[in-house]
Symmetry: C2
Subunit: 107 residues, 2 copies
DNA sequence: CAAGATACCTTGCAAGACAAAGTACTTTGC
DNA sequence: GCAAAGTACTTTGTCTTGCAAGGTATCTTG
């Protein structure tokens, strides 16, 4: 069930991390794994969607420790989306907290 | 996109509200509508899933103001699930907040 | 050269939010 | 008495997206 909670927030996480600097896919999996379970089967399709929608760009960099890495960088559009999603997340999570803390006006 | 954020939390919302007293489906839609967009097409299938899984029971009550209402009440199992999901939500939302507030140990 | 770590990608499935459409009951206004 | 509006429940089909599983290719180390 936990997997359903991630819906929508994963994109926010990726965009937020990329706002702070370029990262490659495998690296993103490791970073995000620190706070929730995630696999490559989730990240790579997401990166493709983000690139197709213009939120991020990508470029290849050779590596001495393995195969070439595909780095992703955020675009101006991506920063805008990130801001919107961060605001959405804040207001959404606040709503849920209010509801489960019983601060709603119900009988 | 907003719709994706609701995943997983809607069930928690419904269970939490039912912990405070019995409600009928249409009423739940109205209550939850106070804090997020929701329609009957979402609630009724969810109520069916919750009943099938034993988290809630239901009973019909005649109404003077329209068709009969199907009231839902939470079971002991449902209360346990609600507690688990509330804990999951708290730790999950805290993780996201840490990440977007930059309190992660990354370069 | 085999094993393991690194790194990428794709396929297929499952969960669940929602629009839309349908049914049926009540009250209100003409 | 009947149309319209509000109340209340249900089902169908679509879309998004998380994830397991499997595949490819590179580099290092024994």
């Amino acid at each position: 069930m936990q997997s359903q909670l991630k819906r929508g927030t994963l994109e926010l996480c990726v965009l937020t991390i990329l706002c702070r600097g370029d990262r490659y896919g495998y690296e993103l999996v490791n970073i995000i794994s620190n706070c929730m379970h995630i696999t490559e089967g989730t990240i790579y399709p997401l990166m493709k969607r983000l690139k197709d929608s213009g939120s991020i760009d990508s470029y290849i960099v050779e590596s001495q420790e393995g195969p070439p890495r595909k780095y992703y960088s955020i675009t101006d559009d991506g920063r805008t989306i990130q801001q919107e999603q961060e605001n959405e997340w804040r207001s959404f999570s606040e709503s849920i907290n209010k509801l489960i803390n019983g601060e709603e006006g119900m009988s």
